[in-house]
């Protein structure tokens, strides 16, 4: 038996060592993409935790965030602010697009989901699909169907150590997403609003009896989720340099997969799920086949839902919906 097992190791190990550089390269790429997935997955998981609704339009909110980043940076550049101070203009872009994107999330909830809160469960889902189609075509009609280019204003330096390269932008994305996740965790655990959010997620009726304004909490949830998606969209626009009106759909599904992978409704789960999905995707693209890169997320999703529907960190309480 041992002799049968031997060739396997003797072939695999040197190969792994030889491709070590590639391995670490894919890890870095995976963490970058994974951080973005995690930020979007947080929006899904927060909304699902409270409303038990798959917010199909969340991917579109992320796409709108990316567009807003390009638009606002364009405005600031035209106004001469970027020449004056690049940092200031970038910070303002981040703030403005997050704010407007949160406003979009807030409005979508008020218009399309709130009237359906007591309807059968499939109705809000279909409404969400409608919102998603609407927003996609709205952006296509107002901004054109061609790719938009992110202005080349950010100087990118490449950090290199032993064949593994990492751009400052990648480092920036990883750090920002980790910081935002930590911030969100603190917000949910420590503040009064965060506590109220957890209470509403556990039991809506009880929470409202205890004097929590449910409508307000749901709005806050949508605002936070959309803000995180806006930051993710902006960073992706900076990273790839190109934005299209249809990017929201696929990334949205992948981020949802990440949320399910980590256990939907669980905030740390979404963070871990996003990072794991990013790693799986870039390692799969590096070692298996890059053509089916987009299919990995769906395959993982189906396997997870069939084998362990509660995800990595989800609680298994009561019957599943």
């Amino acid at each position: 038996m041992l002799t049968k097992g031997l060739p396997f190791y003797t072939i695999l190990l040197p190969n792994l060592l030889k491709f070590n550089a590639m391995f670490f390269q894919q890890i870095i790429n995976g963490l970058t993409v994974g951080g973005v997935y995690a930020l979007i997955a947080l929006g899904y998981t927060l909304v699902y935790g409270i409303l038990e609704l798959i917010n199909f339009a969340h991917g579109e909110i992320y796409m709108i965030g990316a567009y807003l980043g390009i638009i606002f940076l364009g405005i600031f550049t035209a106004a001469g602010l970027t020449e004056y101070s690049l940092l200031l203009s970038l910070v303002l872009t981040f703030i403005m697009s997050t704010l407007v994107c949160s406003a979009y999330g807030f409005t979508v909830e008020k218009l399309a989901y709130k009237p359906l809160r007591n309807a059968p469960r499939l109705n809000p889902l279909i409404s969400a699909i409608g919102v998603s189609i609407f927003l996609q075509n709205y952006v296509m009609l107002t901004q054109g169907a061609t790719d938009k280019v992110f202005p080349h204003v950010i100087p990118v330096t490449i950090i290199e150590f032993s064949n593994v390269t990492m751009t400052t932008l990648q480092l920036f994305i990883i750090i920002v997403s980790l910081l935002l996740m930590a911030g969100l965790h603190l917000f949910i655990m420590k503040t009064k609003t965060g506590k109220a959010m957890r209470a509403v997620a556990q039991d809506k009726i009880m929470a409202s009896l205890l004097g929590i304004n449910i409508d307000r909490i749901i709005s806050v949830t949508f605002i936070i989720g959309s803000g995180l998606a806006a930051v993710a969209g902006l960073m992706v626009a900076m990273y790839y340099g190109l934005v299209n009106y249809s990017i929201g759909y696929l990334v949205g599904i992948k981020a949802f997969t990440a949320a399910v992978l980590g256990g939907i409704g669980s905030v740390p789960g979404a963070m871990i799920g996003g990072l794991v999905l990013g790693l799986i995707e870039s390692l799969g693209a590096g070692y298996l086949s890059s053509e089916y890169k987009d299919a990995y997320a769906f395959i993982i999703l189906i396997i997870i839902l069939l084998v362990k529907p509660t995800g990595l960190l989800g609680k298994s309480e009561g019957p599943r919906p």
Partner: protein, 354 residues
């Protein structure tokens, strides 16, 4: 005042995307059209909606006669559109069995449609079979695909099922797109032959229209009969309350299998007819939007009602063809329409009687 603030808020939101002038136009546009709406509602609000007694039997007979006479009344272009309508009705009938009757929100029906189209295309071009034997194999294949996908749906409910089926649809599309050696990737398969009956090739639009129409009418008839059978009632019971249905002794597993297999069967038929009509298939025709489009049809018409499905497909295929100038705004209206339907009329335009 509150409504004015709301309009202003909407205009403000669109400001970065449409510029100052666009947002201002939008604001005044919404305000003026809302004013019109209020004025009209005040004028006509008091008139009660007429409750038209419609004789369904007479109406459907008239419609069927009209549909048979259609190719002689209109230009070839409209016959072409009518063929497309019939194919979509077939597809929507299949989706309706799963979503409308059984209540399983399935968002990957384009996959069965695609499997039907591709297997017909491959069997006729690569293996050289004739249309009819290929059709039989295609129907078996697509039903089998539906049967296999029923396994996950036994364990999942509601929105989880929606997501899994969506993923399934995307995987099939990616396979069609990337499996170059068989499906020729994004280039698609061309030169799919027309069907032949008794040595007579059905290549002209008129004859093909009659073929598709016959398939569509028989499908509508069969689905309607099945809906009223024991099976159909079991499906309805599952839709209304799965736990209660199980408690009443309905084998929910079996009936879910049946619903998905039966639904996939019609989708496969629609796909096969689509392939031999177009003489060309490519993965582009089987995207997620296609699935959503069909779901829109049955929601517009009314979930679970066969006349509703036919009506919904008719509207959603015909309207974009008639309003060519507004092609760009089609999807925008579709998205907004879905939300509005869900809020104001979740049962669809034609309510099913159950």
């Amino acid at each position: 005042m509150k409504k004015l603030i709301f309009m202003f808020w909407c205009a403000l939101l669109t400001l970065p995307f449409m510029g100052i002038r666009g947002a201002a136009y939008l604001f005044f546009g919404i305000a003026v059209s809302y004013g019109f709406y209020v004025a009209l509602a005040n004028m006509f609000g008091k008139i009660k909606k007429p409750d038209l007694p419609v004789n369904m039997k007479l109406l459907s007979t008239a419609l069927i006669i009209f549909s048979f006479a259609l190719p002689f009344l209109v230009r070839d272009y409209y016959t072409d559109v009518a063929i497309l309508v019939c194919i979509y009705i077939l597809l929507a009938l299949g989706v309706n069995i799963v979503i409308g009757f059984t209540g399983l929100l399935h968002l990957g029906f384009a996959a069965f449609y695609g499997i039907g189209a591709y297997s017909n295309a491959l069997l006729t071009t690569a293996l050289g079979l004739d249309f009819w034997s290929a059709l039989i194999l295609t129907l078996i294949l697509s039903s089998l695909a539906g049967f296999l996908l029923a396994f996950p749906s036994l364990r999942l409910r509601g929105d989880y099922l929606a997501i899994v089926t969506l993923g399934f649809g995307e995987i099939i599309r990616l396979v069609l797109n990337n499996w170059d050696s068989v499906t020729r990737g994004p280039n698609g398969i061309s030169n799919i032959p027309s069907p032949v009956i008794l040595g007579f090739e059905i290549s002209s639009l008129k004859y093909y229209y009659y073929l598709v129409l016959l398939f569509m009418l028989s499908a509508a008839f069969i689905v309607k009969r099945v809906q009223r059978s024991r099976t159909g009632r079991a499906w309805l019971a599952i839709r209304e309350d799965e736990t209660a249905a199980e408690a009443m002794g309905i084998n929910t597993r079996k009936y879910k299998f049946m619903a998905l297999t039966f639904g996939a069967f019609w989708a496969g038929l629609a796909g096969a007819l689509f392939a031999s009509k177009m003489h060309f298939v490519s993965p582009e025709s089987f995207t997620f939007m296609e699935s959503v489009f069909v779901v829109c049809m049955i929601i517009l018409g009314g979930l679970g009602s066969v006349p509703g499905v036919i009506f919904g497909s008719l509207i959603l295929v015909l309207l974009p063809e008639l309003l060519r100038d507004f092609q760009l705004y089609r999807m925008l209206a579709l998205g907004a329409g879905l939300v509005l339907m869900m809020i104001f009329r979740p049962d669809g335009l034609i309510r099913s009687r159950q």
